[in-house]
Symmetry: C2
Subunit: 410 residues, 2 copies
């Protein structure tokens, strides 16, 4: 039986979501997932060898494809990335390692590349072996569907999803050496989203050129302030991977002011994807943005923001539209960061609730109505310790999260 092909969806995409030059993409359903409406295998091919940088999970238990990709990046000769969803190929021992390698070989064959020029991403259930017959059929089917249309891009973005409700795409355009270059990213989030490394899958493609080491440094720095500042429930996955591919099909290497603009555009793409991951967290009803300012260092600011983001009491308060500032300031207090409690102030959705260590009278009913009315919630914590700050994204914790995660099949 051949895999069901997912016809290219007709959803209109924002112009910024166009495919950079020299890349072909496809997403197909090959029956790793039960629902035939859900693509579960994506193939991304670069027509020419591309620089590729990667950042990976910090989990001690990491999946076979993470081990494989970590060995192969940074690189100046990547030709393809093959991604499956529905099975993480994690905790699968030697057979898992062999399966990840075989996946790369199969993708290399259809892309006329060497096996070592292919990277592999997997996400889904931990501890089951990949159904390699389905994967093989999927790769063959994806090869036939490869294209540079927006619809193909969307199919590929959908092929990496698990419990995500929405595909996550972001794009920017900048000028390098007089040429328009594109930066287009796609990501997968939803569950097992914690703050050590990106804790998700992400692929960012550009048709500018970058040397491998510069690409690696750029991606690490961008990930630190985007994907590493997002959390759904703080559980760091075994499979987190973000790749940045740069194939130089549209332009050469950006330098000087163009490099600055290029790096800023990559950051914006990753920030947009990171926000989208938090907004689409399992069961999320609110995207919560946490700004922490006035700290001694960015690490301390991030530590406080992460602790607030991961507090189930804060997350349920937002779910319940409850301006329970006590839960927020007390979460800041156990982040392991020393601060003067008398210098702590808090705003929720712009309303001052707590100032210099003391509560401020406010209209709880109107703040509650505002939380309920908006999908975005904004927590601003300010300290009087220094000039460092951090921004972090998370989502609220709802009964739907419990339903999804108490029922998810092993």
């Amino acid at each position: 039986m051949t895999p069901t092909l997912t016809s290219c969806p007709q959803t209109a995409l924002d112009h910024s979501h166009a495919v950079p030059k020299g890349y072909l993409l496809a997403g197909v359903h090959c029956r790793i997932k039960r629902d035939p409406q859900k693509p579960d295998l994506s193939l991304i091919m670069s027509e020419r060898p591309a620089t590729c940088a990667g950042v990976y999970t910090q989990n001690r238990i990491c999946a076979a494809p993470v081990v494989l990709d970590r060995e192969r990046t940074p690189s100046d000769a990547i030709r393809a990335v093959v991604i499956n969803s529905g099975n993480a190929n994690a905790c699968t021992g030697e057979r898992g390692t062999a399966d990840a390698k075989r996946m790369a070989e199969l993708a290399a064959m259809v892309c006329q590349a060497e096996p070592g020029q292919v990277l592999v991403l997997s996400t889904g259930i931990i501890g089951e072996f990949l159904p390699m017959d389905k994967v093989e059929q999927g790769i063959a089917a994806a090869a036939v569907k490869l294209g540079a249309s927006e619809a193909c891009l969307l199919s590929a973005a959908r092929g990496m999803l698990t419990t995500d409700l929405r595909p996550k795409l972001a794009g920017r355009q900048v000028t390098v050496g007089g040429q328009e270059v594109r930066i287009t990213g796609m990501a997968k989030g939803a569950g097992m989203i914690g703050p050590n490394m990106a804790t998700m899958l992400g692929v960012v493609l550009t048709d500018a050129a970058l040397p491998p080491q510069a690409a690696q440094e750029l991606l690490q720095s961008v990930a630190d302030e985007t994907f590493n500042c997002v959390s759904v429930e703080g559980h760091t996955s075994t499979n987190d991977t973000v790749l940045l591919l740069a194939n130089g099909a549209a332009a050469g290497e950006p330098t000087g002011a163009e490099l600055t603009a290029f790096a800023a555009a990559v950051t914006e793409v990753c920030r947009e994807l990171a926000r989208a991951i938090a907004a689409d967290g399992e069961g999320a009803q609110h995207l919560i943005t946490i700004d922490v300012t006035g700290c001694r260092s960015r690490a301390e600011a991030t530590g406080i923001a992460r602790t607030v983001a991961n507090s189930p009491l804060v997350k349920t308060a937002i779910a319940g539209a409850d301006p329970n500032w006590g839960r927020i300031v007390s979460a800041a207090g156990y982040a392991g960061v020393a601060f003067d409690p008398g210098g702590l102030s808090l705003k929720l959705n712009g309303v001052l609730l707590y100032e210099d260590g003391a509560p401020v009278p406010f209209d709880a009913a109107s703040v509650s109505r505002a939380i309920r009315a908006e999908r975005d919630a904004h927590i601003e914590l300010s300290f009087r310790e220094g000039a460092a700050s951090a921004r972090f994204w998370t989502c609220d914790l709802t009964g739907e999260y419990i339903r999804i995660n108490a029922d998810y099949h092993t």
Copy 2:
């Protein structure tokens, strides 16, 4: 209007729950809580000055009574402990400090003690001022009800509860110098239960004698392996306090083998209370006991156990009776502890699911049935790094937790 007095309940208590000699207790309802069936003020009096040790929250934001008690312990002259529930007196600034002191003064008056001989514990909503008129009426009413019956003990244990479903009491008896001495503890848990310090209220009474410094060292060491090894959602409270009172009314100071037996009995009392806190966590359907063995140090074992305990994915898996071992081993992997993944094994309710880094075939349906059938779930993680181990308690994460915490009034 005088406060409603809660009549001493007639519930039969285990013999081990008797009041140690020289203590009188009461619990009354004084309208801090709305429900007149729920006592909200407890008074504990020692007829003679007692040694008292305390361990407190590590949260940077700590409540007024914590500041007060921290200054007053360890002590050799404590005469009373006054406890209110329904209001935490946290984040209440100078007025909160004055209210905590006033509470101690009021309790001192009814107990014929000096204000400095009284300790104060509060739990409940953060950021609201204590209704001091109600507190004053409550203390007066409690003074009239003071007694040494088991019913009075139960009333006092109930007076410290918030969203707890059950009062938490534990007791032991040992011999010191030919005399029977009792150790009786009570605790409050349910929500905002995290792992830095006891994250709850607890009072342990004994009628043996102890010098203050020895009492302090004993309590700190016992708390580290009992109350500090329990978590509901990992949110460290502003009010956590555990006190140990020793009034010497039954016997003198234990030494030698008797001290060893005494310390073991105190540990057992605290362990029983800690387990009870996890078992009665908000919305809990399962008490989860996590044993981590084969680590290089107890700190590393505890760190891994705590990370597993705080993972919402692990907690929802148990709620869903899902033997999802991937979530458990991956949580161990992000605890920040270095280990050889090839030496990790996992048992769930005694069934081996993962051995030396690889999954073991097992009957998922029967393991799932076993989880569903039992209120206790047991996670055993073993490593091949050393000889240190730790035990930790938590509960599962259910839709009821969300309901309680998304609806709790600020």
